[in-house]
Symmetry: C2
Subunit: 498 residues, 2 copies
């Protein structure tokens, strides 16, 4: 049958108030860009008429401003999951304008299938090709696209003419069966392909909107002295682990989080002659990975999205023949799958907002209250990795904040899962150490020297028990920051000893 | 070659000061019982002579008193991992007499292989059969036995004549390859067998000690009114989930933690006519499971240990023909494997020390300082389950302690992994709810009515942000308990608002 072509405005009219809408993409990569903006306009028009209009927003991870930003500003969101990085969305959810549900990214597709979040009414997905048989080829990310396309009653495809149709072949689309009929995922080497190069959709429910929108990718801040030293510390640590035979000589696949520190670490690994050429099994493939593939430092990359600056994206499209057999994009339940992370033995590199002296990590909430982005895939990878590494500068806000604290104000990764902590000062190895030894290690290796005496003072307040946490003084750093503007002014003598 | 038979005292003499020693067993089940006692005696004799004598103790989980109790009392432990339940051991580690390292039980075998804890010098394992070819048949648990037997220089086998040799066939022994060569674990239905019925050991390194020791299993406290109501709430919740089609009609495999509440839940499930006959995929198979297999409520059980009272153990040995094709014992890296938990879609039932209103769970540390037992397998199962359930009475110590608190003092499972909380008052369903909605749900459904006003007062203190945690007042319940003997006396007006 012939595909039905409609305008973005007509597409937006297919979405009803209170619908649950699933969007393609993972980060800004692969997201639809025109229909959500039309939905936002429609919401504003309905609100102006006094009518309710809000939708549930389900995505792979964060999105571009065309989804989270536009819908937030239009007050068109009733519920949002699983992750966001948009300034307006962040402010709105911290004002509790809508409910935000933060979960491990690998779990969203299956929990939608299990029926835990109700029905998905509409899927809106970006594609570089769509056929009359219902073969929908995603653009630069996969996320939860296979699941929402199968479950939704209506699938709106934004066919983006700016994305070359010859991207087809870079995706590996595979949706898991649900228990009790689930089988193994047959990936044993990260380059294994197990699925189709398109998402199969019932063509009767497809509506196509043609677009010509460029990517929404900005650049990263350049590597500074602190991030460069973190990168060198990680690279040197890996070399010493290879020498000690605790990491195989041919190395293991790397998962690296998003952002400047991750880019600095990859760069340091690439320039260290004692680290062999390696592979990446991760969720977000960033600029540094593309650069290192071209230089030959990285032999293969498997991810959920290609989240690069527009400059790198255009290079990538130009060199598609080079990349096509070296890079694969998978659904988030595969890229982030706990069983695969464990089977493949990935080395997980993620950043922290703050780390405490006992090895617990806050990845999400500033001061334990204000949501930053969400846990993302850090839990999927950390818990199941061969070796988990958390990266943090020792301080923030010109030293007023120590990123090493007595107790984290929100716990996303706990002592049971965190093995290595790295700051610009050094590498704390927590493996096989009880809480008091972990604390000594983190203070001496990672904390800023200005904060070490305060952290030792906290540790040695005389609290009994296996883990000398003081339930009166554990947040003294955070109280003092709030009251004086710097954690350095902390006075533990004000606190009762717990 | 002929096996070498020696006395327990001669075996103990093979262990050197500072050795790392791996023991078979998982809970008291399957542990060696005479050689560790001789090692303890030897340590005391060496200490009396002024010589050092301490060993590293690696086990599947907790052990019987013959290992943890005897070695602790002899001050013969330098390092202990991964879990314990012995009164003397608990007190000693909380006095920091030795370093205790608490990790997810599924991870220990592989991290020993990865070299994260140094060399295992000696393995001491209980068996019901040992052959000249080096076929060692474990008794009632597997734990880390395959790995320690392969890696140790010396393997001391306690051949226990009280355990029938015809137990052979109940174990499924399979050790994973390490990355990058690891393959899938080919278990798709819980009754699948994938390995050998014995542990293969180089016979040259085997020394056999013959013993005749009964099991060390005590009974459980009878089901009381509170645990019975928790059980009923769980069973009724499962029925409503089946009716809502969020759990498949034929149900999914159950993992249940250890203890009275777990036994009460299984009993309630067994007596509910709307719950179909089900399977158990768990770490510890307890009395209630054996009873329900005999009654036909449970069709198959896969676990790491048969941890039953001696009375049930003797029944089990007598009815071995009945149980042999309905029960399998596996190594802990298989019984607790995250990838398998997710593939099989297990429903995880674990108990909490305390739960906070935002859905975080403390499983390990009383007051955040005193180690109770350890995290055990609760993290392996919870994070990777189809549905995770935490069970707790609403209060402890006759109401002086609320088990629902503003903030848990130690976090072992966080909001990202905890889906359902059950107390004797009801069932809180946290799926798809942001922090404020989760808090309302937990307070109204699970907290004791006496504590609900205080918990609402905390929640509504006016803290801004996504998650209204107050860094001044979050431990007010625990402060008040310490200062007045009851959390009910909490006065939030004393605290600054954070």
């Amino acid at each position: 049958m012939a595909l039905q072509f409609i305008s973005a405005k007509e597409a937006a009219a297919l979405v009803k108030n209170d619908d649950n809408v699933g969007f393609s993409g993972f980060t800004h990569a692969g997201c639809p860009k025109v229909v959500p903006v039309e939905i936002a306009k429609r919401a504003e028009a309905e609100h102006a008429k006094g009518n309710p209009f809000k939708i549930g927003v389900f995505t792979g991870a964060s999105t571009g401003d065309s989804i989270d930003g536009a819908l937030t500003r239009a007050k068109a969101i009733k519920f949002r999951t699983p992750y966001q990085t948009n300034k307006d969305t962040r402010e709105a959810l911290n004002r509790n304008e809508f409910d935000f549900f933060d979960l491990h990214l690998s779990q969203l597709a299956q929990e939608i299938r299990y029926g835990f979040f109700g029905k998905i009414n509409v899927a809106i997905v970006e594609a570089c090709e769509v056929t009359e048989k219902g073969e929908v080829v995603p653009t630069t990310a996969v996320g939860i696209t296979p699941t929402i396309c199968r479950l939704a009653d209506i699938v709106i495809v934004e066919l983006n003419k700016k994305v070359p149709a010859k991207l087809r072949g870079i995706h590996d689309i595979y949706e898991l069966q649900d228990p009790p009929k689930r089988r193994e995922i047959p990936i044993y080497e990260i380059q294994n392909r197990i699925g189709l190069d398109y998402v199969k959709v019932d063509p009767k429910k497809i509506f196509v909107v043609e677009t010509e929108k460029d990517g929404e990718g900005g650049g990263f801040a350049p590597v500074d002295e602190v991030t460069a030293r973190i990168g060198e510390n990680v690279a040197n640590f890996f070399v010493s682990e290879i020498n000690a035979k605790r990491i195989p000589a041919h190395f293991l696949p790397i998962q690296s989080g998003v952002g400047n520190i991750a880019n600095a670490v990859l760069a340091a690994m690439g320039s260290n002659p004692d680290i062999p050429r390696f592979e990446v099994y991760t969720e977000v493939i960033q600029d540094a990975v593309i650069d290192m593939m071209q230089k030959g430092n990285i032999s293969f990359a498997s991810g959920c999205s290609l989240t690069v600056s527009n400059e790198v994206l255009h290079q990538f499209y130009n060199d598609l023949d080079f990349f096509k057999n070296k890079l694969v994009l998978r659904p988030s339940e595969i890229s982030n799958n706990p069983g695969l992370a464990r089977r493949l033995g990935i080395i997980a590199l993620n950043t922290a907002i703050e780390v405490d002296i006992f090895g617990n990590v806050n990845s999400t909430h500033v001061n334990g209250t204000k949501m930053m982005n969400g846990i993302g895939g850090s839990g999927d990878f950390t818990r199941n990795s061969y070796l988990s590494v958390f990266l943090t500068p020792s301080t923030a806000k010109k030293g007023a904040i120590s990123c090493i604290v007595p107790k984290v104000t929100h716990e996303d990764h706990n002592e049971h899962s965190v093995k290595i902590v790295v700051s610009e000062y050094g590498v704390a190895d927590l493996r096989g150490k009880g809480p008091r030894k972990r604390a000594e290690e983190i203070i001496e290796k990672c904390a800023h020297p200005d904060y070490r005496p305060l952290l030792h003072e906290y540790l040695n307040r005389g609290v009994n028990g296996h883990l000398p946490q003081d339930i009166y003084a554990c947040f003294a750093f955070h109280h003092t920051l709030r009251e004086t503007g710097s954690m350095l002014n902390t006075d533990f003598s004000k606190y009762q000893i717990g």
